[in-house]
Amino acid sequence: MRIQLRVWRQEHKSKPGQFADYELPEVSPDMSFLEMLDMLNDQIMRQNGRPVEFDYDCREGICGQCGVMINGRAHGPLANTTTCQLHMRTFKDGDIIHVEPFRAAAFPVKCDLKVDRSAFDRIIQAGGYIAASTGEAPEANSILVPHEEAEAAFDAACCIGCGACVATCKNSSAALFTSAKISHLALLPQGRLEAKERAQQMVAQADKEGFGHCSNTEACEVECPQAISVLHIARMNWEFNRAAFF
C-alpha cells in the first residue's frame, strides 16, 4: 500500500519544529506502525537525511516506550493499543497519516517524536513505592490478600507509563498514571500503611511537574493500552481527601 506521512521534525528541544512530508510507496499491511517508521528511516538514510527519532523498546506492547500521536489520536485510531501494536492494515492505501509527538508542557519534545517523560519518574519517586525493605518474597499465606483486591491491585499495576493518558487529556492531566500507582499500593496490605503520604506527595509532585486537573472526561481510559480504569482516579481522590481529614 502507498502511504503519505506528515511527520513532526524537530532537531532539538530548543529549536522550533515543523512538519515534513514523506511518501512510502510499498508499505505492507502486515507491518506494525514502528516497522513502517523503520522503513521510512531506511528511505531517509539512503538519501543521506537525518532519520526520524522515535522511542521504542519491546515492540510487543509491554514496555511503554513507544507512543506517538497518530492522526490526532494517542497511539493511533485503535482503543487500548500501543503504537507498536498498531498495524498498517488499520489504514487504507493512499492514506495521509499525521504523526506528532505526545504534547504536554510536562513532556517537552527531545527530538522529532521523542518526548521527555521523566516527569513520570519523579512522580513515582515522590511516593510510588513501599518504604520498608521487604526482603525476600514472604510466605504467601502469612499476609492474606483477598482475590478481588489482588486482581484490582494488579490491574492498576499494569500501567506501562507510556503517557497516552496525558497526551489524550484535554488538560494534560497525569491523573490516570498517578492514580494507578496510588491505587495499586493502597489496595495491598504492605502499601496501605503509607497510603496517605503517598497520595499527598504524588499528587503534589504531579502538580509541580505542571500536569493539569482531571475533568473526568474519561478519554484516558479509552486510549490506555492497559485499559486502566478511571475508577482508580476516584480512589486516588478518596485517598487524597482522606489524608486531609482522617
Binding site: 512538519f19 490526532g72 508542557a105 494534560s172 499527598q200 482531571c214 473526568n216 481522590n237
Partner: protein
C-alpha cells in the same frame, strides 16, 4: 537455620554497586510548608474539591428552587396567591437570607475556580496538536464544561436582574392581599417568546452541565466503588433531565397557557 538477612546480604554483594535497598529513600513527612501541606489547598485536587462541593450545593439548591417554582403551574387564581405568599415567606426569613449569601458565594467561587482551573489546564497543554481527533474518545459536554458554565452564568445574570433584583430593589405592584405580586411579574416576563426561547436554550446548557457535573463531582470527591458509580450515573441522568426539563417546562407552559 539460615538467617534470611544474611542470605540477602550474600545475594546483594554479588551485584556491582551499592545494594539495591540502600538507594530507596524512606517516605519523609513533607519538609516544606508543613502547615499548608496538610490540607494542600493549592493542589489541583483541592481546587477540584471546591468546584465539586460548590457545584453540588448549587445542585441541591436547584432541586429546592424547582419545587418552589412548580407552584406557578397551579390554576391561575390559586397560583397567584400561593406563589406570592411563598415569595413573601422566603424573603422575610433570616435563615433563607443566610442561604442566599452562601449561594452567591458558591456561584462566585465555582465560577472563579472554573477560570483558575481552565487557565492552569491551558498552561499544562503546551504546544497544541496540529491534527486533533481526540474528541472521539470522550463526550463533548464533558470537554465543554467551561462553555456550558458561561452560558449558565449569562443566564444567571438576566435571571437575577429580572426577578431577584426587581423584588429586592425594583418597584413590584401589590396583589389584592397586599403581597408583592411576583406571580404577575413572572407571567408578564414569560409573555415574550424570545425570553422563553433563551430560557429554554439555557436550560439545555444547564442539563448538559449537570449531566457531566453531577457524576464528575462524585468522582472528584472519591466515590470509587463500581456499585455506587453505576447508581450515581443513573441518578445523575434522572436529576439532570428532571431539573432542566422541569425548569424549561414552566416558562413554556406559562407562555402558551397564560398568554
Amino acid at each position: 537455620m539460615s538467617n534470611p538477612d544474611h542470605d540477602r546480604e550474600a545475594e546483594v554483594s554479588l551485584l556491582d554497586g551499592p545494594p539495591h535497598d540502600v538507594k530507596i529513600k524512606p517516605i519523609e513527612k513533607k519538609k516544606e510548608a508543613p502547615q499548608r501541606a496538610k490540607l494542600g489547598l493549592r493542589r489541583t485536587l483541592s481546587e477540584k474539591n471546591l468546584m465539586a462541593l460548590t457545584g453540588l450545593f448549587l445542585c441541591l439548591f436547584l432541586a429546592v428552587h424547582l419545587l418552589g417554582n412548580l407552584q406557578l403551574l397551579l390554576p391561575p387564581e390559586i397560583a397567584q396567591w400561593q406563589f406570592n405568599f411563598y415569595s413573601k415567606l422566603l424573603s422575610g426569613n433570616i435563615f433563607i437570607e443566610l442561604i442566599s449569601y452562601l449561594l452567591f458565594a458558591s456561584i462566585l467561587a465555582h465560577a472563579i475556580y472554573a477560570l483558575v482551573i481552565t487557565i492552569k489546564n491551558r498552561r499544562a497543554n503546551g504546544h497544541r496538536y496540529d491534527y486533533d481527533r481526540r474528541g472521539v474518545t470522550s463526550k463533548w459536554y464533558s470537554r465543554k464544561m467551561g462553555l456550558l458554565g458561561t452560558i449558565i452564568l449569562f443566564f444567571l445574570i438576566i435571571h437575577l436582574r429580572d426577578f431577584w433584583y426587581q423584588l429586592q430593589f425594583g418597584h413590584v405592584p401589590l396583589d389584592k392581599d397586599g403581597q408583592k405580586d411576583l406571580y404577575t411579574l413572572v407571567v408578564t416576563v414569560y409573555h415574550s417568546g424570545w425570553y422563553v426561547l433563551i430560557y429554554v436554550l439555557c436550560m439545555i446548557a444547564l442539563g448538559y452541565h449537570l449531566l457531566h457535573g453531577f457524576f464528575s463531582a462524585a468522582r472528584t470527591l472519591g466515590v470509587y466503588d463500581p456499585r455506587y458509580v453505576e447508581w450515581i450515573k443513573i441518578l445523575g441522568w434522572i436529576y439532570s433531565i428532571g431539573i432542566s426539563a422541569g425548569f424549561a417546562f414552566i416558562p413554556v407552559y406559562v407562555h402558551f397557557a397564560r398568554g
